[in-house]
């Protein structure tokens, strides 16, 4: 069975138009808009305050670890919601399944905790 792609044609048109717009509008503003550059205008903009250095800096690796942990537990929470909604229907089986799932993540949490990944100061 081949899914006919014809119903998706309007979607393709919208995508094409969106792409064209995204390319055209910056072009138009740079070409049509008046330009009166000054030293202050062409300096990097940093929320109104004086710029304090280049943006390319070395980040501490702990940001990365925290971001990763956030994703993991965020996804866990995403899975918990539909489970909680269907808790009655899923019964004991679903309950045990979710306990196993949570236990796996808790093992990971204990591991990173003891490893010191959550210790921001050190």
């Amino acid at each position: 069975m081949i899914t006919p792609l014809a119903p998706y044609l309007p979607l393709a048109v919208v995508l094409l138009l969106a792409g064209l717009m995204a390319m055209a509008i910056p072009q138009l503003t740079t070409r049509l808009g008046p330009k009166r550059p000054s030293a202050i205008k062409s300096s990097p903009f940093e929320a109104g305050s004086e710029s304090s250095g280049p943006a390319r800096q070395r980040f501490a690796v702990k940001f990365y670890v925290v971001a990763l942990l956030f994703i993991v537990f965020d996804v866990e929470a995403v899975f918990l919601y539909p489970w909680a909604v269907n808790f009655q229907a899923l019964g004991w089986f679903g309950y045990v399944e979710m306990l196993v799932f949570a236990a796996t993540l808790i093992v990971g949490l204990i591991y990173v905790w003891k490893k010191g990944a959550l210790d921001w100061e050190s």
Partner: protein, 519 residues
């Protein structure tokens, strides 16, 4: 709301993988709670115990009747159980070889063994996957763990180079596989292998390009993982740069699991396709892989790199077995390479079932021989030579027969087995594959296989020549013994020799394992 009908019986086949995951979790927790650096020998012991427990469970499951589990997303059949057994053997031997390897580098960590276990769990599950999404997830479970293991010794330049290359090309090959999957899904409207065959034969009539492109992309994705030519470029660099026990696990486990998944996908889905297509595809891959792998291995003086190319060549022989699975009628195959009639009078289905057994036995044989060889390579290498690349030079093997006769004997057994010389397991397994290929009529391709295998003997025996006929080099460092390596070498040597002479119980299991669910 209706619930899918999943019972506890569905979880039984997961037991081998579950044991490995529990073992890995224990290792992770013990790593952080018992962090005294003095006593880390238990980690390898625990890993080996987990592998043995898991392997025995798989052995028990082998005698379950083949059936689908989890609503057809997975299957349990003797084929998958035998493969889990092969993976467990590779895991146990690689873990034993890791003991002294990691201790010499002060890198004993529970995470190393935990990653090995996670990767092996992925391999075991990959062999059972019967649906494309499940298959992809399991492929990633095993891949991500092996990427991390490759770059485990992150201080050196080679491991990070190897890890990076493996990661980039691995991610690329996964993407190729996924793209092929998407095309096949588009053609059939399902991702379950068993449901695909029917719609596929209809789609073949209306949109053959879609089906063929999808199938070729899926095959290319797997060809990357099993290191088949022309998708082999990453193999020597990654195998050389990865820590040697990890290379052992990669060459044995990853390859075995990827082969199992490839065979299952193409045998199940291929029923809906013109059988010429997979036959032509795998014959071409087999031809290229056998010839190129062996030719490129000949000039290698670096033994680890030589074993990497040899692993490519062995993928070629395995692909010959895979090609034999797709001959559907005598005289109906790839004209250039096949003969036109069935020989020997063996019925086709028997020959094909033999080919399936041949592939499994070959994977077991390769696991024992290659993991043993890598264990010996890791015992000989010195930490300080690694960045110079001389750590694995042939010279390191000079005069080994005088210094360590036992090791030299073991290495000789492994080399003979890899070269396919009796009385080793490597000979028996090659015989099985070549025999079944001839039985289905792939005579031309088998002749190429035999010739290239004869060329391979040159570079295998060169190692033996260095061990027995060269003097011990001046100022050779003392060779340290380690219980882990010794045990690994003894087990592999005994298996390589004994299974070549009296396959015994293993051949009974094998006779059983030739059944694939739904075939």
């Amino acid at each position: 709301m209706t619930l899918p009908n999943i019972t506890l019986a569905d979880f039984l086949p997961l037991l081998p993988a579950l044991i490995m995951v529990v073992g890995a979790s224990i290792l992770l927790l013990s790593e952080v709670f018992l962090s005294s650096s003095a006593s880390r020998g238990y980690q390898a012991v625990l890993t080996v115990a987990t592998a043995v427990a898991s392997g025995l469970t798989a052995l028990g499951l082998m005698f379950e009747p083949p059936h689908a589990v989890f609503l057809g997303y997975g299957v349990l059949d003797p084929f998958s159980s035998f493969l889990t057994l092969v993976v467990c053997v590779g895991l146990a031997l690689a873990a034993l070889a890791s003991v002294s390897f990691l201790r010499k580098r002060g890198a004993e960590r529970g995470e190393f063994y935990a990653l090995m276990l996670f990767a092996s769990a992925g391999m075991s599950l990959l062999a059972m996957s019967a649906e494309f999404i499940t298959l992809f997830v399991n492929l990633e479970v095993l891949s991500v763990a092996t990427y991390a293991l490759t770059a485990y010794l992150r201080r050196g330049t080679r491991p990070s180079e190897a890890g990076f290359k493996y990661f980039i090309l691995g991610a690329f090959s996964s993407a190729v596989l996924l793209y092929g999957t998407a095309l096949l899904y588009g053609a059939t409207g399902t991702t379950k292998l068993a449901d695909m065959a029917g719609p596929l034969s209809q789609a073949l009539a209306t949109a053959p390009a879609l089906v063929y492109t999808g199938a070729i992309l899926v095959a290319a994705g797997f060809a990357f993982k099993v290191a088949a030519v022309p998708f082999h470029m990453w193999t020597p660099d990654v195998y050389e740069g990865a820590p040697t026990p990890v290379t052992a696990l990669m060459s044995a486990g990853v390859k075995a699991a990827a082969f199992a998944a490839m065979v299952r996908v193409f045998l199940t889905v291929g029923k809906g396709m013109d059988p010429h297509m997979p036959l032509a595809l795998f014959s071409t891959l087999a031809l290229l892989t056998m010839v190129v792998g062996n030719l490129l291995a000949i000039p290698q003086r670096n033994v680890k790199r030589m074993l990497a190319y040899s692993s490519i060549a062995h993928a070629g022989y395995l692909l010959l077995g895979v090609a034999a699975l797709f001959v559907t009628a005598p005289g109906e195959h790839f004209r250039i390479l096949g003969a036109s009639a069935l020989t020997g009078g063996t019925p086709l289905d028997v020959a094909r079932s033999d080919a399936l057994r041949g592939i499994l036995y070959y994977l077991l044989a390769y696991t024992f021989s290659a993991v043993g060889a890598f264990a010996l390579v890791s015992a000989l290498e010195r930490r300080e030579d690694e960045d110079k690349g001389t750590a694995w030079d042939l010279e390191r093997f000079s005069g080994l027969a005088q210094r360590r006769p036992g090791w030299a004997f073991a290495m000789t057994a492994f080399m003979l087995s890899l070269g396919g010389i009796p009385p080793t397991i490597g000979f028996m397994s090659k015989l099985l594959i070549f025999q079944s290929a001839i039985d289905v009529g792939l005579v031309g391709l088998t002749i190429v296989a035999v010739l290239s295998s004869a060329a391979g003997v040159y570079y295998y025996l060169r190692v033996v020549v260095y061990m027995f006929m060269r003097p011990v080099p001046e100022g050779a460092q003392t060779l340290e013994r380690s219980w882990g390596t010794e045990v690994a070498l003894v087990i592999s040597t005994v298996a390589v020799v004994l299974l070549g002479i009296i396959p015994g119980r293993v051949s009974e299991w094998l006779a059983h394992a030739g059944t694939l669910f739904g075939q």
